[in-house]
Each structure stands twice: as structure tokens, then as C-alpha cells.
Subunit: 489 residues, 4 copies
């Protein structure tokens, strides 16, 4: 059966290998750009880098491309960063030059185009106002415009980071005090940013007026801690205090903690994908546990769809929580029908083409004894390009599934994200151009079901004041449309 | 409450850190010694090393200390091995010197005492009968005796491997043909051994007469493949043919496959712990899928114990299958109450004592929202030292569990293993000396339940002819007692 | 005998270990800061990086701390740099991302304080005028002042490099054309700079108006090449054309080579230490071969001093050329009395204090059979701290020298350098505070002789128009005294 | 002009690149196989490994392929070895597991064919007589025969090392005492071996009855030290006692030093190439300093040949000593006409063919100002393949030499070595097949002169009882001809 022309275009893109290199990267997921962490005045002399190291390990799921820690040693800022996982970037000896009681850390995901050492964070710069280090999660909608204006006034850029734009704005602000200059600069920024900054005497945590990306505040003994997610507090034994609010600047120094609202924005636009996929299941955001939200989405999905089936099987690990919820609500038994090989990592070598074609078998293994002869409901949290779904369904049929009904615990992803997710593959979104029927055919499922937008929001059940950004589902970017128009390819 | 004197001794040992180094190793598990793999005459020129590499990745769970591949390049055997994970030992360039159409591979786990480069496998030696490479999973009960006899006759040893003992026996056998000499040597071996060997023209797969360790035979196109577990066939797209039988030698060369029985032993002693913990859930052994066996153990455990509870929570990943079975049989809901951080690996640094105490939080995170206020049944596959169980229960209570009932899907481990598992920590087995009541108190559980030996065997439900080694539970080593007596400390 | 108070202060500093780390670095020498290289339009497609790699190996003696290459791939500038020797920074695979026909390279020496990855060169930045990469040898006298002014106008700094100051000046120049902006910026710079820059379409070579540091122009087929020393031309088979002149800018692009004088300065101040120690003996500078100049200094030294002796022995390798000249002029036989161990490098480990004290023996070994019973004239090119001289003389006496007369083929180094040499150890210059008699006593020589300033200049015998900077000998910095005053510690 | 057929064959071989890999290795030299070191009972607790490390650095010129140290820690032997230079094989942390007061070390050179990790030394094995580690310099003439006999009796081999043959003989000797067994085994060995062994309580130093390879005994405080050359004593501050004698076994243990002669051989066959090229110039062998011997060879060469010339130029570093002697005796001035780049090492990358052709320029650079217009006598210690000589002469002519007369401070190398030098390239010896006139033409010299055998021996002027092996010059292997015949290809 032929698909619509728009869908046909998608499919061509979908089948292009996104990465011709020999390293193995699972690419069929929306991907987060960053995780940030900060600590002020750790109890133990010189332990700030070590606690930040632990926090970054807890946040590793938010970015695996590069990692960095900048410490404050009596007013002198020292930085160590590099490409790779936190465990690989930091060796024991590196901590010798990372003494201090305050620190800022960062983990980064990036599209391959900008995967350069110079783009690792935190950024550390000196200006007339002193030293400043910045770690940033998000994406500025007007980053390109600001950069152009700065360059027109003589600024030079070493990287392609939005963070460097912010550092220039701070240096050029009329305020002499670096903290005040930083706050002044925020008014020029459009888009998503959860930032942690450190000066010679203060730690600063900032969230954009819409609150696209998460940022939480905690306490460890007499120290304050900030992190992208609360799971980073648990790992170091810190106590969660509250989320940093949209439009809030939290300034922590020897005199204590000071909070300021720098924006009158009333409506928040929290990224709903944090609940769907990005955040760690044990994190709490806006008062709601992420795992419970995912389970509720699965339950709601079961209510919305009616399929007779013998077993509910999750795509591991992304579909597990929703599958458990689905099973509970539907009464269809839950089964571990697909296993994930935890030893297959980034450095896997694919020496030849023939071998390369075997790679999908390495990561996910269906279990014949559980699948054979069954009508399977296969649960995942989302479909991006559709290639992985297609391969999994194919393998389930190989081991004898009589039917495979794909059920997705979120709506179709039809639009790219401009607020901090990987937007490099807009043209590859299968739901942008293909109808549900066309996708069903493409992935060779017996049926395909998405959770409705309303069902999803109802399931999340977070703080009622929390507004969501659902632009990837409905295209409602709601702000800064002029920047986005330029950027959309 | 005071424990019995025997138990008190255990507890002292239990609380000793087993490893004073700074590297993080999860130690509170029985640990496998090896995985083996072999391929003869791969279809594609020079692809044997690459297929073996994939097979070893599938078998990585059986050993993470060292890895090696020996290839046969037109009769010349070339070896590359090293310390670490398969992914780290082999770089792309290494395959340049690993050309050939047949290969043998090995992954190894070892106690730290013998964690030396010289003990990595496969072993490659030359003798008057030609070159021979051997990869071995298991443990010889009479290894020390054979070594002593060989040394008395002038043999020298480079390693502490049983494999080297076998190589000497082959060299000294009166048979000139190397394959026949290898078969002749087997009669001198007592204990557990699943071996893959390669000569200048043949591949050989051998299983001891009792069949302690698994070994399977498969086919990929015109090639034969052998592997410790069938999951290694799936990864390369090979087809499972059958298990190598206890007491069988399979010889594969240009003339095809030849099978010989070299032992009249009737009773098998397959290691029951392969079903409980070691084998990968997607492997099939003796006709039974491992995951289903684990689920059935959970179901049987639910039948044997009666506890009122609100939720069944597995220790991830070891308790998941049994917990699902338990939940189905008992009707108590299954919940993902504990998460595992997949980014925490071997190289994690613990810079200071204070930080080190936080490490248990890194790997396993309980989810308060799921646990709080609940009566929890916590499922795991076994208890070895008891330290991990104790820490997990403690953390569950911290996040508000009202009761924690620990349920183990196998009987108490009271005896060390002499057939291929890590036996270095006999004195640390908490169930060797402590009663169930004493253990319950030690791990601070509200109650503790073990699956009965009979329930376990019934649940596995494998080929009725399959006999099991359950010596770790009941001390019935059944053979070669004289060797064991000497070795038991 | 007591020394003068000024001398006593020196000696305290002299005996302080300059580097508490465990890595072995020979520190008792003036040290160069950089070597630069550039090539435009290499004949072979994509060979620019490889030729630059070779050129940097030839220039490795000018800096061993970091190395980098920036290539121009059809207008896109790509950079790879890192810490360490050229051979270690560049692996074969790195050349895959360094395609292009034009390139700029840099090797750097630095004091340990600023030995940071961020200070590796070339620097690559983007501004409104386009991309610009700069590689710099020298030191700006007014660097701190310029940086302060730039920061006052809102510039931010990522490094402590003078090069970054220049990049900012270019970005802020009123000229829109990036080459013109660069030339405009030069008028603001005081001090020493030999620079190679590259834009999207041009290569630029610049030398400061006084010509402190060397810079030569060559040709390889249809390509132009620039390098700090002519030895880098020989290595790639390029032909020397001429030195870039003081105050000259050479612009090379598709239209050919254009030369401009941007300064009316008449007097040059070429660093005399290039002839004494820094430059490679096979380089030619200002028409004079460096080795011949050194030999002539030795000959002149023999004429100036009168000592009866049996043998002339050089400190290898720095004193060899002068010793040969000395021997020829004096008739005293030349002897290889001290050997240098070429396998002792940077990573040498000194596990314990006792072992550490043995280290001086590792690098230099006197030969008893040549030295014993002889009156030795020991030749070196200069004395900086005096510690090495002292140790060598001590070892010569140990093996039986009856007398050791130290002869130095340059005047006493009494002042730090502000134009590109390592100035971090001003207080350690033994000749700054101690008289020749005091130094003689300190190094336990039987006598000590320095070449006179006049003798040195006469010996060099370069182009008569070439003026020299001899500030390290006579304190005559001649320019920009106000900057230096601030900087002198 | 056409050459003789035998010569033509040589030339074909000569022009074949010996090594197709991309790593740069200077191959046109005879190459040594090993250096050995041992220390018993070092004064400082646990310093044996560190002192051995220093000793191996001093012996690094004898082998750069692999390095290893085995320590004795209270009777337990622990080994660390690896591929590469001493500095690279040993990191600071490695010394943690190398505690002990006695140690044996080894550096190895090898032909590429056997450049395998398994061939690194020292060898450490266990036998019925206890643990034994062996480090070996030399080559057994009957190694293959012994290996065959051992294999016929059931021995297995892990490596291709002669050392492993010796270990087997020890294990099979009827003597139970391991030291006595080792001495008994020596009677079976033919050929060259200077060995250091260590048992659980003793250190043993052994030299073959002909004394082909050097081995010296020294003292450091209360410790005894043995080393291939006396330069290793100087580096650790040890005092030279005497050479170990041909046919002597020195046994050192808690009871002191015991010496035994195990052979009645009267005539020694010391390798004359140790004086010509291998040994370090500051070593003393048989009472003669190596540098002085080389200088005397140059002097003798000047006496033997009569050429009018303007300058004597050495090939650095191998020809320097002879050139100085030549200059003194002839009155022709000595000149540093060729420089060596000390930063070009093993890892140099040659990315493309065109670049590769430039590589000879990297290592050696002639200085035009010294060479141009001169009649040059070019001095080297030997000619092996002749390719380097040819290239150097070519470059001297390029920079303007009017004549180049090549003078070699030893006779023509016409035969391979079977006693410890690299024999893999017999067919590449240019003097084996080509007359002096033909070689002269091939290397495009104006004339070519070799030192006579008599002149060489007279110049060395060592202990009159010292007999020399000069088989590489005259083919007089003098012993074990039957082994050699088989081996000669």
C-alpha cells in the first residue's frame, strides 16, 4: 500500500542511517541536552568537587557527551572538563586540582554536528566584573539574534554555546556588580534556560519565566544544593526543599539565600517530555513523582484503547512504567517479553557491514517462550523516527507473536522542540507527515494507539498551577514565534 | 538480641569490607567464573573474530574481569586478550591481527587474588602435537592434585589456571593426535568443565560427565557455533541446535561434526544456580527458558509463604522475574519500588571516607511515593553475605515502608561451590552459621522466607532427565569428596 | 666564605625545587614560549595538516607543553589541539577531521602556572568579520593594559593568552575586512610577536616592528610556507625564501603574496638568545647559520680567557658547538667527557626521596676514563639558576677531574625577559645578585669565565643591519619601559 | 655500472621497505636483543623495584620493545611487564604491587615477527622446585633442538623465548634444589646467554662459557647488583666490582655471595659489536671504557686510510666517538655537519605516501654552512643494509659537499649473528654479496673505507685474555656449527 507523499518523504529520511560512524548510538529517542548541578559551601573542606561528581552521575541520563566541574577555591575558579561519561572524564588525580567548598557541574548531550571539546560546559570566563562560570540546560530561542548583535558590537565567540551569549551579555551590562549584571541580562533572553552560575563569592540558580526545564533546590547540612532533578539530592543525602520557580533567581552566598522574581510571567510552560521520558523515575517534579506519572499514563492509555490481548510487554526500559499501569488498568497480564543487554555501550565496534546489520539484536532480545503464540500489546513512551519500533515488532513476530498492538503512552510527536531537546532531526519525525494508519503500516503493527493529549495531562496530575509546553505534540510554541520561524528548517 | 556463636563469627566477616580498593564492585552475589564461545569456518572471510566478539558481549554477564579471542588463520593461531570488559579489551585495530574463519573466545570473572593478566583466557600453547588454544568454564576438583603430579614430573606453570593443567595433560598424553590426546586427558579430570578448544584444523567442545556448567551447540549458515548460553547464538543470528551433552566431545573440522561420549556417567549435576541467577533470562538451558524458570520460582514461593502485604517489590535486576511470578500467584500488586542507576560502573571513584559512605545510594534508589506506608514484600534471588539486603531494607524503611518482608526465590546458601563459582568467601555466607531467625534480625526484616529445595526444583521444570547440583544449599557434593575436603577452608 | 646579602637571597631561591611534582623537568635553562607554522594551498589535496604536523615536529624544541593545528577546509576552520608533544597530541585518526589545503600550527612552552588546556594554541574564534585562527610566539609588553581596556568595554576572556587580546582587537576594529582589521590592530601592540593567522580565505604572517622573535618565509611547490625557523622548511623539503621583516605583514591568498610594512621602526631588537640557545643549530637566521654562530662564540671565548687545561668538555647538548669552537681556537683537545641519556623523558617517576636524589645521574653521565686526572674546561651556553652547573662540576670532581674551569659562551644572565621567554623565575637568576666570584664559589668551580657582550655580538656576525635585544644581559629593554615596570616583580 | 649477481640480489632486498607499518623505526643498524638487571636485598625496604626501574632506564638502549620487573616480596614473586619503553610500561601506581627488597628486570628488543606481549621478560614460572623468574640476554644456538626434545617429552610452550626452554630444563633436572637444578641445566645450553634469575630466596647471575654477552657485578651499600653494563651501576650510585666471568655462576642470598665455575672452557668469545655499537659509551667492559675504544678505532682508521679531506663529519650519534679519534689522528678538522632531531620518536605518523618520503629528513639534518664546498670524510660505526648511508651521502651532496668519503670504524658485516643480535635480515647485509667497490657505487660515495679486523682488535685494547667473537665479520662461529647450519637461511 502506498503512503501519502508527505509520509513517503519521511520514510526516506527515516531509513537513512543518521550516523555513519562506527560507534553505536541508539538514536530513535528524543534526547535531552543537559543536566546542571551546584553546591555552595560544602561542610567538608574541599568536598565540593566530589559531591558534584556524585550529583553528575545521578544526572548522567540527561547527557553523556561531555562533563565538567568548576570549583571555587577561595575565590579562584578552577575548571576540569572533557568528552565522555562522568566516570571517564574524571580520574582520581583530577580532584587534586579541584579543591574548594563550592562548585558547579554539567553533563551535556549534543547533536554530532557540534560535538566539539570547545562546547563542553561549564563555561568559565573572566570579564571586568570578575570570573564567572555558567552551566546551562535549555535553548535560547533568540540565541542567534543575540549573538549577531554582540558580534556587531565586537564580541568574539569561541564556541557555539548559548551560554557564551549569556556571558557576553553579563560582561556588557551597565551594572558593575556581576550578579546584578547577570540578572539584568536575563531580560534579554527568550526561550528555555535553567542555569547555575558561580562567581568568586556566590552561587546563582536561575529558571526562565516559563520554567521549561526543571531545577530544584536542596540542602545538605549547612550547604545549599541545586540540581536539574531531585534524584541528584538523594544520591548525596541532601534534602529536597522546593523547585526553583519560573522567573526566579536564587542567590546563595556567605550571607545566606536570597530569592528574586525577575519576571511577571504568569503562565508556565513546563516540558511535558520530562514526565514522559527524560527525567529519572525517582525524581519528583512539581510535587509529582515521575514514575507514578508514567504509570498513570499507562493506566489512562488502557482506558482509552480497547484491544483484546494476552500480554502487555514493555520496550525496556522506556516502556516499563506505563506497561505496569496499563496492565493494572486493563487486567491484561504484564510480561518481561524483551530483555536489554546492559553491557552494550557506546564503544561497541561494528567491524563490517554484515556484522553491523546484527547490531539491533545486541541491545534488545525478545524471549520466545513468553511471546510465542500471544497477542501482544507492546508499550513504549513515544515514537520518534519509528525505526526501533519497526525492528522490535519484527523481532516479536519472528519469535512467534500472533499479533502485535503498539501502544504509546503519549500523543504523536509531530513537531521539533526549540527549548532544549535535540531538534536536529525534524524531518525524521515519522508522525510529521504520516497518519496513524500510515505509521501502523510502516512499523508493521497490527494496530497502533497513542494516548490523547488530554489523557496525558490528566494522568500527570501535577500541581494544578503548572502549565505545560506540549508544542512537540500540537505545535503551540506560544512564544517567540518570530525566532522559531527563522529557525525552522 | 544476641546471635549464636557461629552466627556471630559470620557477622564479623560479613561486615568486613571485602575489597579495600577504591573501585566499586557489587560483591554481595555468587559470581560466575567464565563464559566460552567458539565458531568454526565462518561464512565470511575473516569474520570469526568479529562474530566471537559479539558472542562474548552476549556472555559478558558471566565474567567481566578479562576477555580474549584466539583466531585460526589458515592453521596459525593468533591471540589477543586483556583485562576489562570485552568492549574495552578490543579496539578496532586489534581485528587487523585477528584474521581467520575460526575462533575461540572467553570472558572471565575472578576473585581479586588471582586477578592477574597471566590468568586471562583463552590459553594458547605449543606442544609436540601442535598448537592448542583452550577456553574453560568451571573448576577442577582435582586441579591441585593434577598440578602437583605434573610438577613432580617436570612441568612448569605460568598461571594458576586449571586450563593450563589440561594443556599439560594433552602434551604428555601418549596419543600423538592432539584431539585424541585431549580426549584421553579428560578421563583424568574431576569436577566441572565446559571447554572449547581449537587446534590447527579443528574446533572441540567438551562438557564434563556431570554437566555442571552449560554448553550449547548452534549453527550459523554453514558454520558451527558453541557457546556457554544460547543467548550468544541469538546475538549473531545463529540457530540453536542442542546442548552439548554431559560427557560428550564434539569435534568440528572440514569433514563436519563428530560426536563422542567419553564417559558412562548416567547422572547429571547441572548447577541449579544457572537457573537462579547466572544465566541470562533469554537463554534456554535443557529445554527450559531461564526467565520462565525464575518466574515459576517466584510463583512457587508465593504458594509456600503466607504474608499479608500491599506490594511486591523486586531488588533490580536480580529479583524482577521472581517478583512478577510472585505477584501473579499471590495477587499482591507488583511495583517498581527500587530503581537501578545504569550509569554507575566499575570505575566509580570514592574520593573520601565520607563520600564512600554514600555509595550505596548510587546504585539503588527506592521510590518513596511507591513504598511509603506500604507493607512490602521484597524479592531477591538469593542472599550471600546479607549486606546488600540489609542496606536495601534500611532504605525502604527510611522512605516509609511500614513492613518489609524479604522473600528469596531459592533456599539458604550454606556451602561454598567448588565447581566454578566464586568460592573465596565461604566464611562470609550468612546462612552458614546463622539461623533464619538470626538472619532476619541481622537484615532487620519483619520476616524472611526462603523457597524450599523441592519447590525450587519443581519450579524449574526442566528436562526430567536433568539432575542438579544443589551442593551450595545442601552440601551434597556427591563426587570427589576427597579433593574437596582438602580444599575446604 | 660568606656571600653578599643579595647573593644569599638568590641562593635560597636557587635551592628551592622549582617543581614539587613527580615529573622530571630540566629547569635550569631559559625556555622559549612558542613555535609557529603556516602553509597556504598545499599541492596535495588535504595534506596541509600533515605538512604542518611535520613542521611542528621540527619546531618541537621551541615548546613541548601543548600542540595544535587548525586547518582551512574550503573556508571552514577546524581545530585540534591538546597537551603534550606533537607526536602524542596527534593520532592517525585525528587527521580525518583535519582535511584542507591550508593550515596553521603551534607548539607551546609555558610556566606551570598557566599550563592549562585552555591556553593551548592556535586560538580559533568567530566574530562579525568571520572566523580567525591565530598562532603566536612572543609576549606583549602592554598585554595586561590592553586586556584591561577591552574588559572595560565588555570583552570576556577564556584564557590568559596574549593571542586572545589580539583577537578581541580585530573584532572591535572599525575595519570590516578582517585582514585590514588585523593590520589595524597591530598598531596597538607593544612588545614581541611573530604571528601566523588564517581567515576563511587567507594566511597572514606578522612580525613586530622590532623583530624580537624569528619568522621565515618559504615555498613548497606552489604553496607558501611560514615558520619560526628555517629548519621547519628543510623537514618538508620546502625552500627558504627570506625572513619576514620586522614590521612586515605578509598576506597570502588565491591572488598570491602581498607584503606590507605597517611600521616605520628602523631599529631591530632581535633576541640574541635565539643564537645562543633557542634556535635549532641547522636553522639560519638573518643569513647566519646558528651552529656556526655558536661555534664562533666558543672561539671568541677561547680568545678572551687564558686557562691552561688538558681537555675541553661540553655540557651536552647545549655546549657542544661552542666547545668545538673553543677547542679549535685554543688548541686544547675536545673530549666527549659527559654523556646524555636520550631515553630519559618527561614521565620519569621518582618514587621516593632517596631515589629522587639519584635523578641527576640519569640524564648526564661523566666518563671517568676521559676526565680523571685532567684539568677540564667545561663549556655551556649559559647559566640560569646554577644548580645544574653545580651538579655537573661535582660529578666531574667525583670521577677525578683535577680542575674544572667553567666557561660560558655568553655574558651573565642578570635580567628576566619580557619578550617571550620564561620570566617566571627572575628571582632565581644566580647572576642577578651574585658576583662572578660568588657564583664561582657556589658552583665549586676552579674558575668561571663568561663571554663578553662585545665578543658575543662580534661572533654572531649576522646581517650588519640586525640590531639585538640583549636586555637579559644588560637590562636595556629599550621600549615600553612603563609596561615593564609594572610587571617586574 | 652493473653489479655482480650476488650484489644485485642484495640490492633488491635492501630496497624493500622492511616494515610496512606506519610507525617509524630506524632499521639500518644491528640491533641488540636485551638488557638484564638484578638486585638482592636493597637497603631500603621496598626499594628494589625502584632501583631496578632506574637500572632499566640506563639499559634502555639495549632494547625498547618491552620491559618488566619481577620482585621478591618475602618469598613471593610478583611480576609487572608490558610493551614499550620503561617509562611507559611503569606508572607510579604499579610500584604499589611491586614491594620487596630483591628484584630482576629486563628490557627487550625484538624483530617484529615475535613482537608479542607473551614474549616480554622476565619470565615467571612455578615448578615443583618453587617459583623462578629469569631474565635473559643472548641467543641459544641449540634452542630449537632443546625445545624439540622438551616437547617430545611433553613440555608445552607459551612463548618463543629461549628463556622458557631454560625454565623447562630446570623443572626437569634431577636436582631438587632449584639453584642446583639451574646450574645443572646450563650444561645443556649452547650459545650466548647472560642471565639473571631469582628464586624465593636467591639471586643468580650466569654467563655462558664463552662470555658472548656482557654481565657485571656491583655493590650498593649492603646489596649486590648485577647488570648487563656498568652504566646501570652509575645511575643508582652503585660501585662496580667486576665482570661476571664466562662460565661463572654467582649465587647471592642471605648467606652472602658464592661463585662457581661450571665450565672448563678456556677461550672467550666476547661480542666485538658491544664495543663497536651496542654498549653505552660510559660503560666499561673487560676493563676498557667503551667510548675510548671507539675513539681508538677512529684513530686506527685514520692511520689505515689516506684521503685528503677538509672535514671529518660523524653520523650522529653512532659515529661521533670514532670521528673524534679520526680527527685527532689525521689532523682533519672535526665538524658537526649533521644534526639529529631528538623529538622524533617511535610514534611518528606518516599519513600518506608523499609525506612518508620526507621522513628521512626528520631524523637527520645536514648543515649546509658546514658541508658546502668541502671534501667530507663521513664516519659511521658500521654499514648494515646501506640504505641510511646512501641517503645521508645523498643529502650531503645536496647541500654542496664536493666529495664524500665514507669511513667505517669496523670491518664489513658479512654474516648474520646467532648469539643475540637481530639475525632476521641476513639477506639484507649489503656486504654479503657486494664488493667494497660495488657498495661504494651503491651508496654513491666517492670512496669507502673499512677498518681492518686487526686494526679493530688492536684499537679495543681490552684485557689480553679476552677473546672476541668476530663471526659477523669473518664467519668464524667457532662452535655449534651444526646448529647454525640448520638455522641459516
Amino acid at each position: 500500500m502506498a503512503s501519502s507523499p508527505a509520509c513517503n518523504d519521511k520514510l526516506k529520511n527515516r531509513n537513512r542511517t543518521p550516523d555513519s560512524s562506527t560507534s553505536f548510538r541508539e538514536r530513535d529517542k528524543m534526547e535531552e541536552e543537559c543536566g546542571v548541578f551546584g553546591i555552595f559551601n560544602s561542610d567538608e573542606e574541599d568536598s565540593a568537587a566530589e559531591l558534584t561528581y556524585l550529583g553528575l552521575i545521578a544526572l548522567q541520563h540527561r547527557g553523556q557527551e561531555s562533563a565538567g566541574i568548576c570549583v571555587n577555591n577561595g575565590g579562584e575558579l578552577n575548571l576540569h572538563k572533557g568528552m565522555g561519561l562522568v566516570e571517564n572524564v574524571f580520574q582520581e588525580r583530577d580532584f587534586n586540582s579541584l579543591r574548594g567548598r563550592s562548585a558547579v557541574g554539567h553533563v551535556r548531550y549534543s547533536t554530532s554536528g557540534s560535538s566539539l571539546p570547545v562546547n563542553a560546559q561549564p563555561l568559565l570566563v573572566n570579564s571586568i566584573k570578575g570570573a564567572l562560570t555558567l552551566a546551562h540546560n535549555g535553548n535560547l530561542a533568540n540565541g542567534a539574534e543575540l549573538k549577531h548583535n554582540l558580534e556587531s558590537n565586537g564580541s568574539i565567540f569561541h564556541s557555539t554555546l548559548d551560554t557564551e551569549v549569556v556571558a557576553h551579555l553579563v560582561a556588557r551590562a551597565f551594572e558593575n556588580n556581576i550578579i546584578e549584571a547577570l540578572i539584568q541580562s536575563l531580560h534579554q533572553l527568550k526561550g528555555a534556560f535553567s542555569m547555575v552560575g558561580m562567581t568568586e563569592d556566590s552561587l546563582v540558580a536561575i529558571r526562565d519565566p516559563r520554567g521549561f526545564r526543571p531545577l530544584s533546590l536542596g540542602r545538605l547540612g549547612d550547604s545549599y544544593v541545586v540540581a536539574s532533578e531531585s534524584c541528584a539530592f538523594d544520591i548525596i543525602g541532601a534534602e529536597f526543599i522546593r523547585d526553583v520557580e519560573p522567573g526566579e533567581v536564587v542567590i546563595i552566598n556567605e550571607e545566606g539565600l536570597d530569592s528574586r522574581k525577575y519576571s511577571g510571567e504568569k503562565n508556565s510552560s513546563f516540558c511535558v517530555f520530562e514526565y514522559i521520558y527524560f527525567a529519572r523515575p525517582d525524581s519528583n517534579i512539581a510535587g509529582q513523582n515521575v514514575l507514578l506519572a508514567r504509570k498513570a499514563m499507562g493506566r489512562k492509555l488502557a482506558e482509552e484503547m480497547k484491544v483484546d490481548a494476552d500480554i502487555v510487554v514493555p520496550v525496556p526500559d522506556s516502556g516499563i512504567a506505563a506497561a505496569l499501569g496499563f496492565s493494572e488498568a486493563s487486567g491484561v497480564p504484564y510480561g518481561q517479553g524483551i530483555l536489554r543487554n546492559k553491557y552494550v555501550g557506546r564503544t561497541f565496534i561494528q567491524p563490517s557491514q554484515e556484522i553491523r546489520d546484527l547490531k539491533v539484536r545486541l541491545k534488545l532480545s525478545p524471549i520466545r517462550e513468553i511471546i510465542a503464540g500471544k497477542r501482544v500489546i507492546l508499550i513504549d513512551d513515544s515514537i520518534v523516527r519509528g525505526t526501533t519500533s519497526s525492528q522490535i515488532i519484527n523481532r516479536l513476530k519472528e519469535v512467534g507473536a500472533s499479533e502485535v498492538h503498539m501502544a504509546i503512552s503519549s500523543p504523536p510527536v509531530q513537531n521539533p522542540c526549540f527549548f532544549g531537546l535535540d531538534t536536529s532531526r525534524r524531518q525524521e519525525l515519522i508522525a510529521n507527515g504520516c497518519t496513524v494508519a500510515e505509521i501502523t503500516e510502516q512499523i508493521a503493527a497490527d494496530s497502533l494507539h497513542y494516548l490523547s493529549r488530554e489523557g496525558m495531562l490528566e494522568a500527570i496530575n501535577a500541581d494544578p498551577d503548572l502549565g505545560f509546553c506540549t508544542a512537540c505534540f500540537d505545535g503551540s510554541y506560544r512564544l517567540a514565534e518570530r525566532y522559531l520561524t527563522e529557525e525552522v528548517r
